[in-house]
């Protein structure tokens, strides 16, 4: 009886252990697979590389995180090799993300291909520039800049150098064609208004002040000559030479002299 119970217990125990073992094994296998997959997916930064990031244009983007829509954004990436092996900086990838969910890509920019070798204890500066479209002005976007590089052994690294929400501001500096033409139209309208006002005022003044002078054409009935219509030089000439009294014959004779 005692022996049987011992056996039973042993069997139970064996079963339990086996089952547990199987389960454990499964779990551990799963977990290891999961971790390896994770390792494959998330490529991190190398401890031997120090990276720096700096906006060049606009210069104040480093402090206020604002860029201008419709104008280029330039930045520099510094890469410092603190290890003993060469690094090869492959490229940088820049993208705009949805600021509430950085997994959601709004715009992917062309990656900046560098393929530059950085020897140990050396540094390299890489530059990149992209263009924020005007239609994005007034929005805040997540800007992410990743640098991909590998070491001499071919181990691959990705380093995030910029990962922040930036605001795209409308660019009011410089000449804007739209506003320029708007001002031109305003100036034209102003001149037109002045002209109209002038016409109106002159009409008013003529009506009130100069009403006595009638402008009705009366033909040649009047004896008076309207000097307004005669060119000035002719009037002058006629003033100089007073008409000679006498018969036209006498005048002719004088001219032929």
């Amino acid at each position: 009886m005692k022996l049987s119970t011992v056996f039973l217990l042993a069997a139970l125990g064996f079963c339990a252990v086996y089952a547990a073992d199987v389960v454990d094994g499964e779990v551990t296998e799963d977990s290891t697979r999961a971790t390896t997959e994770d390792d494959d997916l998330t490529i991190g930064a190398s401890p031997d590389a120090a990276l720096a990031f700096q906006f060049v244009q606009p210069a104040d983007a480093n402090t206020i995180n604002e860029v201008y829509g419709g104008s280029p954004v330039k930045f520099l990436i510094g890469f410092q090799n603190r290890g003993e092996k060469d690094f090869i900086v492959k490229f940088s990838e820049t993208s705009y993300r949805y600021p509430l969910d950085f997994n959601y890509y709004l715009q992917n920019f062309t990656r900046g291909e560098y393929n530059r070798r950085v020897a140990p204890k050396e540094e390299v500066t890489l530059d990149y520039a992209f263009f924020t479209h005007e239609s994005l002005a007034g929005r805040s976007l997540g800007l992410v800049v990743n640098v991909h590089y590998e070491d001499a052994d071919g181990k691959y690294f990705i380093n995030n150098v910029y990962n922040q929400t930036i605001t795209v501001v409308e660019d009011d500096s410089g000449f804007n064609g739209e506003t320029g033409f708007m001002f031109l139209i305003f100036v034209a309208l102003g001149i037109g208004a002045l002209y109209v006002a002038n016409q109106f005022l002159s009409k008013l003044s003529r009506k009130s002040g100069l009403q006595k002078r009638s402008t009705v054409e009366q033909g040649t009935s009047g004896n008076e000559v309207d000097y307004e219509w005669i060119p000035r030089d002719i009037i002058k000439n006629s003033e100089k030479k007073s008409p000679i009294a006498g018969s036209p014959k006498a005048r002719k004779a004088k001219k032929t002299d």
Binding site: A50, A52, L76, K121, V124, T125, D127, N237
Partner: protein, 188 residues
């Protein structure tokens, strides 16, 4: 046990202090870019160098050496130096330096990076390379002129071609006009 705890606390404390006060050494980012839109042989080409200290400590004895990327057999230096020295660049500040060159020949040219050296705090030499503008085309003078030069010769030839019809008729007009003027004067 107590000693171990104290040791752990000490280590953690030192590490935290290190992280907290660990100001990043001077880190110079250097960029090199042409300011001229077109590189043309025998015309000025402006190259700008910018140094940005993004660290938290000043960088001292900063030099830019770019003599190797503009060999004198293919470039004339009009103004500026390809080897310059800055005594100190404070943290968070930047320096720009520009050089005016004149390419002697046309064709593809590979603008390589400039070498920048600087010292951080404890006489620690850093060798850095600026960004490289990459390959660019240096235009022939004639190609550039065809696109952008004021075309005086074209206008002159055009005037010469147009002269017989316009100037001739103008002279004829003047002749007859002067005759009539003389007649009018005589009449008066």
């Amino acid at each position: 046990m107590n000693a171990v705890l104290v040791a752990i606390f000490l280590i953690v404390g030192i590490y935290a202090a290190d992280v907290g006060t660990q100001t990043r050494d001077a880190f110079i980012l250097a960029h090199k870019s042409p300011l001229s839109l077109y590189a043309v042989e025998n015309m000025d080409l402006v190259i700008e160098y910018g140094l940005y200290n993004v660290g938290d400590k000043p960088a001292t004895k900063v030099t830019i050496d770019d003599r190797h990327s503009f060999p004198t057999q293919s470039f004339d230096i009009i103004k500026g130096l390809l080897h310059v020295n800055f005594e100190k660049i404070a943290p968070g500040t930047n320096v720009t330096h520009s050089v005016v060159l004149r390419p002697r020949a046309y064709g593809m040219f590979n603008y390589t990076s400039a070498q920048v050296t600087y010292y951080t705090g404890n006489d620690n030499l850093h060798v850095s390379y600026s960004s490289a503008p990459g390959e660019g085309y240096i235009y022939r003078q004639r190609e550039y002129d065809r696109k952008f030069a004021p075309k005086y010769t074209f206008f002159l030839t055009f005037l010469a071609l147009v002269a017989p019809t316009t100037i001739g008729s103008y002279l004829l007009f003047q002749k007859s006009k002067s005759r009539f003027d003389a007649y009018a004067k005589k009449k008066n």
